[in-house]
């Protein structure tokens, strides 16, 4: 099977994330001959003296000319019989929306830090966001060791800063290694220039990463839409977890109604059973009128339903208690919401917690009480992210991401 990990490369502006990713793509021969030729041509055209591996990811003209990453991108790497999907994200605070878009697809993360600098604002914020998204496997990569003359002291200085940071954020770092992306040191194999580092190379560490299987096994089926087949209504959706059988009795939340499955419909006819992540159509003996988009069909433990949610959120835009027009969107559910109160808030540039207040600023992380205009189903985020994570929208724009706690 070729099931592989999605790994996001996060970190401060100019820590060399795109260069590191580009170099990995190049050295593992995961790019085409044509892409290599184009890279050479573009570097020559821009008068660059060295190969700018970042251009393999930074494909926009302005990204290359101005040497920054504007938006997230993804690339596949094949090496030593393993495959990875590597995700590049921008480091700028102004581009956090794009960072979140990329990081939300990741199972594991690499936090890149410049050896010639120290742990700065975006390093802290990105690490916090990784933890917030439930990404526990974070490998710290101390990059640009060439600028620190490959000295162990520079590496140890960053390492001690990172130990402190990991403790503050409450995340267990999954190792720390020194590299030079530009010079290709300690990427595929160990570096003689850093003989003091006895650990494995970057690729060896990534190869040992494992993705965690969710232990959640009860059926959760968010109703996405209702179609008709012949004259009969068919409830369509993707199975978020567990499985459904052709004569199962299901229940629905928030409505509380009970339903008996008559058939499981796919393209080629009916099936006896189906399981996550399959997208299917369900026909029922009788379809109660309560069943519509946003209802969650389930078996096993009753999912948590409430119209008052204690949640952890990360803000993209400022908003305040009592702001009208908020919408909470979770899986296929969408309901009016309001910010009832702020329990605590943290400034993610300093990671300092404050209590009270009525307004939230962009890049704040907060624990809040939300009220919704109708009951909402929210599972524990870490056990079932697709039904645990929500977005708050205001004037059709996302203002925060969050999950129930």
């Amino acid at each position: 099977m070729y099931n592989f990990l999605n790994i996001v490369f996060a970190g401060e502006v100019d820590s060399g994330k795109s260069t590191l990713l580009g170099r990995l793509l190049y050295d593992t021969d995961s790019v085409s001959i044509q892409a290599k030729e184009e890279l050479k041509k573009v570097c020559d055209g821009l008068g660059r003296q060295v190969m700018e591996y970042a251009y393999l990811l930074d494909s926009f003209q302005e990204e290359r000319a101005e040497e920054f990453t504007l938006d997230t991108t993804q690339a596949f790497v094949r090496a030593k019989g393993k495959e990875f999907l590597l995700i590049d994200v921008p480091g700028h605070k102004e581009l956090l929306k794009n960072m979140l878009t990329g990081a939300s697809c990741a199972d594991a993360a690499v936090l890149v830090i410049d050896a010639s600098r120290s742990v700065e604002e975006q390093t802290k914020r990105h690490l916090f966001i990784l933890k917030f998204l439930g990404i526990e496997g974070v490998l710290v990569v101390v990059n640009k060791m060439d600028l620190a003359a490959y000295k162990e002291e520079a590496f140890l200085k960053i390492k001690s800063e990172c130990d402190g940071l990991a403790k503050t954020v409450g995340i267990k770092a999954n190792g720390i290694i020194p590299v030079s992306a530009r010079e290709g040191e300690n990427l595929l194999k160990g570096s003689p220039k850093m003989a003091w580092h006895r650990g494995p190379s970057l690729l060896e560490v990534l190869g040992a990463f494992k993705s965690e299987e969710s232990a959640f096994s009860d059926l959760r089926f968010p109703v996405q839409d209702i179609y008709t087949a012949g004259k009969e209504p068919v409830v369509v959706g993707s199975i978020a977890s567990g499985s459904v059988g052709a004569s199962d009795i299901l229940r629905a939340v928030p409505s509380g109604v009970e339903l008996k499955v008559k058939a499981i419909r796919v393209l080629s006819g009916n099936r006896r059973s189906a399981s996550a992540p399959e997208a299917v159509g369900l026909l029922f003996q009788r379809l109660p009128k309560e069943i519509k988009r946003g209802e969650i069909l389930y078996k096993g433990a009753v999912p948590p339903v409430s119209s008052q949610i204690r949640a952890k959120i990360f803000c993209l835009k400022p908003f305040a208690e009592g702001d009208p027009g908020l919408i909470l969107s979770c899986s296929t559910q969408e309901v009016p919401a309001s910010l009832d109160s702020i329990v605590s808030r943290m400034d993610t540039s300093s990671l300092e917690t404050r209590y009270g207040g009525e307004c939230l600023a962009a890049c704040d992380a907060a624990e809040v009480i939300l009220r919704t205009g109708a009951p909402v189903v929210a599972e524990k985020y870490l056990s079932l992210p697709s039904l645990g994570r929500f977005i708050l929208l205001k004037d059709a724009q996302p203002v925060a991401i969050g999950f129930a706690c």
Binding site: M1, Y2, N3, D29, S32, I33, Q34, A35, K41, V42, G45, L56, L57, S59, F60, Q61, L70, D71, T72, T73, Q74, A75, F76, K97, N98, L100, T101, S104, C105, Q224, D225, Y227, A229, V234, V236, G237, S238, R265, V266, L267, R271, A274, P277, E278, A279, G281, R293, L316, S329, S331, S386, R389, I391, L393, A396, Q397, P398, I401
Partner: protein
């Protein structure tokens, strides 16, 4: 059911996106079909999403420069799958003799982008399904699943919307002419072929080697070159893709005419 859990995951994500698109747009949604491997696989996913029928119009942007095999393939499956086919042609540009000889960027723009603009205006579409993939081109790798376009069809890549996995929160905003929806964005070329094999999806014979060459990516007959290959079956195509170092679109001349051609074309509304 798919035996391969990886392909099953790709498929489920695509179907989820197609159904989201239909939930939001209903009869304002159309699917673009070029009869190539990717959009034919997408059409299969549309059939699966709607449990057998294709409930939305199928749009073919006809430059009139396509391969005869492509037209034959189209007409055969329009009947078989009972498709509501709309052929979009920029008649005026064709009449005035637009061709690649007048410049590839201008030709692609007139016969594809402008033709699409005309069709959208005529039929009032608000959202389109397109089968682009990240691994085709590093510019396409920067795309979102749900990507808004303004009245001039511009792709505002400076301000792309937030997406969390396949969850998008776009499509309710003002100032948007239509939404480009990319249900196949996360598929690789090799995944498409493995899926075609697993699902027995019909595929155009141009993709299989004849006389030592095959087409890996198909556009207009005048602007695409076959690549050297002996892969004359699906199995051999998959085998070839496991080790090839040749880019998928290496035979597509419009990508190479000048630097940043794809970025220019796409920012003007090209697919």
């Amino acid at each position: 059911m798919l035996n391969d859990p990886y392909l099953a995951g790709l498929e489920a994500r695509s179907i989820y996106i197609i159904r989201e698109a239909y939930w939001r747009y209903r009869d304002k949604l159309a699917v673009l079909w070029s009869m190539g491997k990717d959009s034919t696989a997408m059409l299969h996913l549309v059939r699966k999403s709607f449990l057998g029928s294709v409930s939305i119009p199928v749009l073919h942007i006809d430059t009139t420069y396509k391969f005869p095999e492509i037209y034959r393939f189209r007409d055969r499956f329009v009947k078989k799958w009972r498709l509501d086919l709309i052929i979009a042609k920029n008649d005026e540009a064709i009449k005035s003799g637009m061709s690649p000889a007048k410049g590839r960027l201008d030709c692609c723009h007139a016969l594809k982008t402008e033709a699409l603009k005309q069709a959208i205006a005529r039929h009032g579409f608000k959202a389109l399904l397109l089968a682009i993939r990240r691994d085709e081109h590093s510019i396409r790798a920067k795309e979102r699943y749900f990507s808004p376009r303004d009245a001039d069809f511009r792709w505002n890549y400076h301000e792309q919307p937030l997406e969390m996995g396949e969850q998008s929160f776009q499509g309710r905003g003002e100032g948007q002419d239509h939404l480009r929806i990319h249900p196949m964005l996360h598929w690789r070329e090799i995944d498409i072929w493995r899926y075609i094999k697993a699902e027995k999806i019909p595929i155009n014979p141009l993709y299989f080697a004849k006389g030592g060459k095959r087409y890996r990516s198909i556009g207009c007959a005048c602007c695409c070159e076959p690549v050297e290959s002996s892969a004359n079956t699906i199995e051999k195509v998959i085998k070839e893709l496991e080790s090839t170092k040749i880019a998928e679109r290496a035979g597509r001349t419009q990508d190479k005419e000048r630097e940043y051609m794809m970025q220019k074309l796409r920012s003007l509304g090209y697919m």
